[in-house]
Symmetry: C2
Subunit: 397 residues, 2 copies
């Protein structure tokens, strides 16, 4: 990061003393205002809600308000910096929700990293919120927490670090296929990183029709004979045939795995990809090198090695795989349709909506992903998500 | 409550879908904005806070942000309506904080009424907040929770239902003395209601110099021979000589207790005061009949019975004892002075500040309490509170 950005960011945060403020939507200038917004008038909406719990969505801000919940255990590329130091990121996420999709979002930074306690606290504070966005929680806790909350709460729960990347990566893959004329079901994909984000990517791609995904992680290529040593996340991917075992591999290196494959998707800071490895892939490979801040391979190198498209997580290169394309519209659509959950099919709808923002004739190798500031994105994503909620009939009555 | 207010309040809440919104204090219109407010620039304030925890006040909204925490167990006059139905009240409180004192406040409605769990959750969510305002929690839990949080957190904690009323009642008593030429130390006071609010009133009045306070509650007059049957709250008041035992009482009725006393303070819905009881008091008694929505005695009756001043909790009579005179300025002062707590002496300073808004020559029997919309109040209260924090040196370094 440039030192200029560092200094300007500190200045911005200090000058404004943070980034969020909680303001009133109604006027409170005289005693009549006070008697309506507060005592005694406020007793009426309270009694309505007491008699009909769903009226909370009618008379309060709950229906447009989500909690951004973190334990500070896996913040950006900074690691386990704790709940206090994570607050600037959560405030940042809150203002992105507001600016991109008019979703009210509030940071809840929890001073505990015990998953059972996090689950319990989120359940107990949930009356105020119409949705829960989990953020920057380390694996496997993030998966455990999200699954339990999805089961036990009747509002949408979404862990952005898992699924946001998955949605935008899927959109990138759809458009790479459109531009190159290939089909998803013909692709053989190398997935570097089989943690929370990698798992979610693999699941979504399989749901989309991809047939072959091979895993790579810190222990090398994911292989059947290592099964017993794997965490439950990887075991699940294997048991559910999400991850496939490669045949006839020279050894269990990333180099060996990438030979004659079509796509590289990297969501691990550990892997390094060379030009030679890209050259060893099938013709016109797609490279999504999303390690942050340093991609697994720099875009210019991948292009030199004949990559067809290259995407990274960075805004200073083309084709940025940026979660902000997904989460604002996803929650906008879920809240507007009164959805009680976020399903795989809603994520898939979101991915397709992001992809098809770009028309056939506009697609280019350096433009397979729309800009985060393209105002059509949130509209398209929220509409696609809403349509899916209506189709599934998973909305609040 | 008039049906007109009921309908207009419902309309207001429905039209705006609640009363609060969370907005951004900084601009996020292009990728440069994004790189400063979010990734990658936001890493810098995170790292600063990690290295120096107090920097959280410099780079985030924490220092101006309080949680309004309830379990929905004692909401307005509605009782135990639970956390969901309490949300309109908590949103209302939040906008009062914002409108009266520019304090950002956010409702946390907890789906538990177990005091230990509430204490634990508030501690665990505290990283986001610069202060905790407990609200509408029933006694004795509210006292237990507040005491423990005051001990265990390093940010101001305040239960408004206990102390807000106490501060404003104290201000009313100060001004009743100023106007009548009497002295606090000469007054004999009847306190009807010895729960959370009553206890706090009694403590603050004693700190202010009142010598004699007699208690009355659902079990009759507070007497030594009933000691064993009392809750720990009342036992403490007796043990610490906050509540005094009356001499030579005919019986343990409120009627008997009020004879020849100077002040009636009512914070219980159970007690009824008649004109005869007011007439039996010493000359020119002060009557603060704060039961809501129906005062222990209506102001016109008390005046007919020769009360010198009458205060109630209602906005449609003179001398409204309204907490909004206290809590906004109290938190404004505590946050501005970086106070780590709220002390008895800060409450006392707030009470005096509220009282002395009204100049000697302005005081009248129907104007011993300033209007909630008097803009001088929050300025005076916050300054008085700040001065006390500086004097006590209880601020964050």
């Amino acid at each position: 990061m440039e030192s200029d950005i560092k200094k300007r960011s500190l200045d911005l945060h200090e000058k404004n003393t943070g980034k969020i403020t909680v303001i009133s939507k109604v006027r409170v200038k005289n005693s009549d205002d006070l008697s309506l917004a507060y005592s005694p008038g406020v007793a009426e909406p309270c009694l309505k809600i007491k008699d009909n719990p769903n009226d909370i969505y009618k008379y309060t801000s709950k229906g447009n308000l989500i909690a951004i919940v973190t334990d500070g255990s896996a913040v950006l590329g900074l690691g386990n910096i704790g709940p206090h130091a994570s607050l600037p990121v959560m405030e940042g996420k809150a203002i992105l929700f507001k600016e991109f999709a008019d979703v009210d979002a509030f940071p809840i930074c929890l001073d505990t990293q015990d998953p059972e306690e996090i689950i319990n606290i989120v359940k107990k504070i949930s009356p105020t919120f119409g949705g829960i966005n989990l953020e920057d929680i380390s694996a496997p806790n993030c998966v455990i927490i999200e699954r339990r909350l999805k089961e036990e709460l009747d509002i949408p729960v979404f862990h952005d670090d898992q699924h946001g990347t998955a949605i935008v990566t899927s959109a990138a893959l759809i458009n790479s296929c459109r531009l190159s004329g290939r089909k998803l079901e013909d692709l053989e994909i190398v997935l570097s990183g089989t943690g929370a984000a990698g798992s979610s990517i693999a699941r979504l791609l399989k749901d989309m029709g991809v047939k072959k995904i091979y895993g790579y992680n810190i222990d090398g290529v994911v292989l059947k004979d290592k099964y017993d040593s794997y965490s439950f996340l990887i075991k699940e991917l294997i048991d559910q045939s999400i991850i496939d075992f490669p045949n006839n591999l020279d050894n269990d290196s990333l180099e060996a795995l990438m030979k004659h494959k079509d796509v590289f998707i990297g969501v691990s800071v550990k892997a390094l990809v060379t030009k030679e490895m890209v050259s060893s892939m099938n013709k016109d490979p797609f490279i999504f090198a999303m390690a942050n801040p340093d991609p697994e391979i720099m875009p210019d190198e991948a292009i030199e090695a004949k990559a067809f498209v290259v995407g990274t997580g960075r805004s200073d290169f083309p084709n940025q795989i940026n979660n902000v394309l997904a989460f604002p519209g996803l929650f906008r659509g879920a809240l507007d349709s009164k959805s009680t959950k976020i399903t795989e099919s809603m994520k898939l709808s979101a991915a397709k909506a992001i992809a098809y923002i770009i028309k056939d004739e506009e697609l280019r190798r350096d433009y397979i992903i729309p800009s985060p500031f393209d105002k059509r994105v949130v509209v398209a994503v929220s509409k696609a998500v809403k349509d899916e909620v209506y189709r599934l009939k998973i909305y609040r009555k």
